[in-house]
Subunit: 328 residues, 2 copies
């Protein structure tokens, strides 16, 4: 069915070795032979089998990507930049949506190793998974500690939480509430929360954090926000740990007739271009998504090439930026 190197060789009247040489531009080959071989490859519609190549070379140029879901714009954009960067360096990318489920993450990890990926980038946020420790495989984590030996790339989540909280304070908010994701997951949002709580305490305020657990109910977030407003009629500042939560807060507040930003100020987190397009008015903490992607990719390729990861590279922290909108 599919032609192989022997078919090409026969068709071109040379040996398989010669074809291989042409393919890899290795050694000396006469132009005439080259042409013959290329001709044969075209005629037979030949695609070199990367499987066989990789098997021999013990190198696949395949990278595994484990992230919660491309359906979330933050990961969608991050993954886009990651794939892009890898593609330009000759790597291909296997996509895994872990949905923050431990079982899926473990299965994917197993699958990727069976498929001989050269390395993985993990941006999923589960509880600790011990497999990462025994694993011998170049890896980079985004916003999560996987094991002692796996470097972590993140943006400055603590600073982000601090800047967000201070921003609301500066704008005169009296009662600031924080909304965060599931605390049991090892998400970067935990540091944002920590910063919020520390800043609040330092300022003599009482920190209140509403926690969103993982839920299949579409309206769950709305319900909790509703509850928040009922329980805190005097809330005048909300720091949401991501923009989608902030968006929900915004629309629920509007439903209640609250005027933004006079009665209530809202700040989100992430600053994806999708949310910037949909809600340009939202004040948010902008993560350097492309820079995170680029760092992670560079760091992984570095490891794949067998180079040592110096201490400062083991924990890369990229700067965030306050993006001023009209919701604060």
């Amino acid at each position: 069915m599919k032609p192989n190197i022997k078919d090409i060789a026969r068709h071109a009247g040379v040996s398989p070795t010669t074809v291989s040489r042409v393919l890899n531009n290795r050694g000396y080959i006469s132009q005439k032979t080259k042409d013959k071989v290329h001709q044969a490859m075209k005629e037979l519609n030949y695609f070199p089998n990367e499987l066989a190549r990789s098997l021999f070379k013990q190198r696949t140029h395949l990278i595994g990507l484990i992230f919660p879901t491309t359906a979330n714009p933050f990961y969608g954009e991050l993954i886009f930049h990651i794939e892009n960067a890898f593609s330009s360096k000759g790597y291909k990318v296997l996509l895994c949506n872990s949905l923050n489920r431990v079982d899926k993450e473990i299965d994917y990890l197993d699958m990727l190793q069976r498929n001989q990926v050269d390395g993985i980038i993990v941006g999923a946020h589960n509880r600790h998974i011990s497999q990462y420790e025994s694993m011998y495989l170049p890896a980079v984590a985004i916003d999560r500690n996987l094991s002692n030996s796996i470097p972590v790339v993140s943006s400055d989540n603590y600073l982000g939480g601090k800047v967000a909280t201070e921003h609301l304070l500066k704008k005169g908010c009296q009662k600031i509430i924080h909304i965060n994701g599931p605390h049991e997951l090892e998400t970067p949002a935990n540091k944002r929360r920590e910063a919020y709580e520390e800043v609040m305490v330092k300022e003599g305020r009482f920190p209140i954090t509403y926690e969103l657990r993982q839920s299949l109910d579409e309206n769950y977030t709305k319900t909790i926000i509703d509850q928040l407003f009922d329980e805190n009629p005097d809330v005048d500042g909300i720091f949401a740990s991501d923009d989608l939560i902030a968006a929900t807060v915004l629309s629920e507040a509007k439903k209640r007739g609250k005027d933004i930003p006079t009665e209530l100020k809202i700040i989100g987190y992430d600053g994806t271009s999708t949310v910037k397009t949909c809600l340009p008015e939202l004040t948010t903490i902008q993560q350097p998504i492309q820079a995170i992607a680029q760092s992670a990719v560079d760091l992984l390729i570095h490891q794949i090439n067998g180079e040592a990861v110096d201490e400062p590279l083991k924990n890369i922290i990229l700067p965030i930026q306050l993006s001023n909108g009209f919701t604060t």
Copy 2:
């Protein structure tokens, strides 16, 4: 370094064949042997090499996905559902962001065939690419004609455009303008436009379509919309061919102090959950994203299994839905 089947065999005191049998649960093997082998695999931290397996079996269980970019929420969500569906059937997914660039699409197509993918799903929208015609590889296109033999899955774009336009008419709009993406790309938006123009003409109205060309300028869309408002101060209805454009229209209109929906009504297209979260007030035509994904996946697996694609399956059209918001 990495243990192979021989290492396991030696460690367990059996032959490689036996290990393979245990691995694949094939033939008769005594429980004792099974246990020994499993033990050895655990001790040596063994991962069967899928490359070698695939090479022999002539089947990779790898699928290529060519889409414009995961950074767009529509594709992000679509790809999420596709990967999910494949994963549950034992397939893995290679992600390709074509960015609607012909050269990238062709390169990816080549790469995927070298990597022996079992099939591909293409949701990229470029001008005609002849490679698809000569290609022997199971494939499914989403919203695009790739070649005569490649089945197409889409939602009812014509109906969507019709419903959107009629909706604005029903709501009393006098001057309705349509905004569409680059006309030279083979996007499904072309059918939405066609429907808009036909409905308008049928109603004795004059159709006006503003076309957004591909641009690297972040503010390009805004500029065009600005121009639209300047040139048509009396516009009172806008049908945007996707939600992100609609979102931009919405914010530009607000900037100009236009009251939505009294002075201007806006309807978008796609209805991703991301946009629904960010802009719940937006009226839009909702595509059945998960159903599109599922159909495409089923159809591809069908082909991979060597089954014929019956005529009705060659062009699957899924229903859309009007999602009523407050912008109309």
